[in-house]
């Protein structure tokens, strides 16, 4: 199943791995293929400014042709859910009650279940006449730990609540999450030890949950142009420790930095190989080159190009 032919994609990874840019680039790529896309954010709102739009909040908003955004607020999501369950007037009574807010904070997985229910609603093939329908919903999910809690929440909640509409819905959500034709996860990683460990652990955890890992994106890679002996020979020009700055003529001054960079790139290669070897066969892995500057809307097209093959 091609990545973008599913209905729901969750993009997650350790903090600082470029989730938001990758979610946005996948959205741009899908829109280019003619799909109507909604990109949903869960922790905060950064996408609207990336698309040169004002804040959209918890409201589905078209920002470009075929691209809509929403910044999901878990509390609003809970209200959406309750409203659909108990009707407007009753909902208002509950909404005003402090006990409800307390319950929302304390009940295990309840906020997450309501957020996942937003994903379900957004990704439906038919949302009725009042709401737009999307071919693909891409979620810029929170960092791995929280995203996994979110994916587990329907099962967690279902185990705790023995009845009621949320339990019933939680079971539907589990079915959606585990359906690889409808749902896939994109994991973002960096070529460093801890992020690679975490990515491999998350890949296994997803397997345990029965969730399909559609793509792993290794972000911010930058290889070396030198062979080891060549780099060491250059490094030998520097008199002291290579990560200390040295005085002297130009060749001496560049020697240390070049060797430091070469070794950094080599460590990166090792981590990349470790990641490739640790993933199950069939899991797509693609690398994106490091960029110095913050990603802008103009860069998203380039990122989409870079992801096109892996997402096909």
């Amino acid at each position: 199943m091609a990545l973008l032919d599913r209905r729901l994609l969750l993009v997650t990874g350790k903090g600082g791995t470029g989730k938001t840019s990758i979610a946005a680039a996948l959205g741009v790529l899908a829109a280019r293929q003619g799909k109507r896309v909604l990109i949903a954010e869960v922790a905060g709102e950064r996408l609207s400014s990336l698309f040169g739009h004002g804040p959209v909040g918890h409201r589905e908003t078209v920002v470009e042709e075929r691209i809509s955004l929403q910044a999901i607020d878990p509390i609003e999501a809970a209200h959406d859910f309750l409203r659909s369950q108990v009707g407007g007037p009753v909902h208002r009574v509950i909404f005003q009650n402090r006990l409800f807010n307390l319950t929302m904070t304390a009940a295990p997985g309840l906020r997450e279940v309501c957020t996942v229910d937003r994903f379900r609603d957004l990704s439906q093939k038919d949302r009725g006449r009042k709401h737009p329908t999307y071919d693909l919903v891409i979620v810029d999910a929170p960092a791995t730990g929280h995203a996994m809690a979110m994916l587990r929440s329907p099962a967690t909640y279902s185990g705790i609540a023995r009845g009621g509409p949320i339990k019933k819905r939680a079971d539907e959500l589990s079915a959606l999450i585990e359906d690889r034709r409808r749902t896939g996860v994109v994991l973002c990683a960096l070529p460093e030890e801890t992020p690679v460990n975490e990515t491999l652990e998350t890949a296994e955890a997803l397997r345990g949950l029965g969730v399909d890992l559609g793509l792993v994106v290794l972000n911010r890679t930058r290889g070396t142009l030198l062979e080891d002996p060549e780099a060491e020979e250059i490094g030998a020009l520097a008199p002291g420790a290579v990560d200390e700055a040295s005085d002297g003529d130009l060749a001496v001054r560049v020697a240390g930095p070049v060797l430091v960079e070469h070794r950094r790139a080599r460590r990166e290669d090792v981590q990349r190989e470790r990641l490739a070897a640790g993933l199950r066969p069939g899991v797509a892995l693609t690398a994106l080159e490091r960029r110095d500057d913050e990603v802008t809307r103009d860069d998203l097209g380039e990122l989409a190009d870079a992801l096109a093959e892996a997402a096909a």
Binding site: K14, G16, L82, I94, R98, L102, A106, G109, N197, E230
Partner: protein
């Protein structure tokens, strides 16, 4: 050290940990994920131990190889001593370096046992489904247990200084406010309402259960509600204990001998995060030490690629290798310039902010030897 602590454009380190941390009893390191915070905490810890102090580093989630090297693998919640060789051939005074890995769940369990009215009450909470989820949950509780553990370590009197490597969080206030927030949560009026026995019944769940609880039951499932009532029933009884502890922790964080350091990487997002932290900290009664920027790319200054290629070709006698090395140097020179610009822009923000620049190291830090190399950059010798 000559130009080692200067970036190509001349941003220099103005944060000197030796003086900033001279009297520190607590050092709190804050910053986003993936900026090398844990390694920095361990490095500062080792540096202080090398200066003769008894140090404990409280960490959240160290990289596995570093955890291995420090003897932490599989040890949660118990301080582990890192064996230190004397740093100088003549021996010198070496203090102690201990490391402890936070386990939020067991810290919580300990707290429940401490504050519960009876062992039976404690056991009841520990078995409660809502509690189990709550104590292991991601949001908020890790922040709380981190400061809680910090308090416990200081009380023991075994260490001169405790370093706290905080959980990566976007909002510094989450962490600072955790004790108070937990207290208010347990003390809230909604809770009182839930727990207050109504005409001898079981509060809102009793005979007088109103329309509202009926609706909640309908929407949420009744089993959960009774677990919630039980959970808050016991935890609410501990509210006074938590309240006192929250105040103690708050006071500890406000002490002048508690120094906050921010850790960042030279990425726009990371520096923006550090800026937000700084802003959040500025309105508070805390001692801010400064900003540590890790993994700074270093390159020779202002040199064009052709000049570098020619110089290397002459030194190596190989045009081809020289050309590729020069291309690589150009790449890192651009990045170094970029890193420097980011930091300069960041420092232009409001208020003076001492900054310590740590270059990209030639090797990853995954043992005490590697940490010692990092210490040279964290505590550069004067001169």
């Amino acid at each position: 050290m000559s130009a080692a602590d200067a970036t190509p454009g001349g941003v220099t380190s103005t944060l000197h940990l030796d003086s900033t941390l001279a009297d520190a009893r607590v050092v709190v390191l804050a910053g986003g994920g993936g900026v090398g915070k844990t390694t920095t905490a361990a490095g500062i810890g080792l540096g202080l131990a090398r200066r003769g102090r008894r140090v404990c580093v409280l960490t959240i989630d160290p990289a596995r190889r570093l955890a291995d090297a420090l003897g932490l693998e599989g040890v949660a919640d118990e301080p582990v001593q890192v064996p230190l060789e004397p740093s100088a051939p003549d021996g010198g005074t070496v203090g102690e370096l201990w490391v402890v890995m936070l386990d939020a769940k067991s810290t919580w369990d300990g707290l429940i046992r401490e504050y519960a009215d009876s062992p039976e009450a404690a056991e009841k909470v520990l078995q409660n489904r809502v509690y189990k989820e709550f104590s292991g949950a991601v949001a908020g509780t890790q922040e709380y247990t981190a400061v809680e553990k910090l308090h416990e370590l200081l009380q023991s009197g075994r260490w001169d200084v405790v370093l706290l490597d905080t959980p990566p969080t976007r909002n510094a206030l989450d962490f600072l406010d955790a004790p108070q927030r937990l207290h208010s949560f347990l003390d809230s009026r909604a809770l009182q309402l839930l727990l207050k026995p109504a005409s001898g019944g079981l509060g809102l769940l009793g005979r007088g259960a109103g329309v509202f609880t009926g609706l909640l039951k309908r929407a949420l499932g009744v089993d959960l509600l009774s677990d919630l009532v039980e959970f808050f029933g016991v935890l609410g009884g501990m509210s006074k204990g938590f309240g006192e502890r929250a105040r103690a922790v708050q006071a500890l964080l406000a002490e002048p001998r508690t120094v906050f350091l921010l850790v960042a990487a030279p990425h726009p997002e990371s520096l923006a995060e550090a800026g937000a932290f700084r802003k959040a900290l500025s309105g508070r009664d805390i001692t801010y030490g400064g900003l540590v920027v890790n993994r700074l790319t270093r390159a020779a200054r202002h040199e064009d690629e052709d000049a570098v290629r020619d110089a290397l070709a002459e030194a190596l006698g190989d045009e081809d290798v020289a050309a590729r090395a020069a291309a690589m140097h150009e790449r890192i020179r651009r990045q170094a310039t970029h890193d420097e610009r980011l930091i300069t822009e960041h420092l232009r923000g409001p208020g003076d902010e001492p900054v310590l620049l740590v270059p990209q190291l030639a090797e990853d830090v995954h043992d005490v030897e590697g940490l010692d190399r990092l210490v040279e950059h964290l505590f550069p010798a004067a001169g």
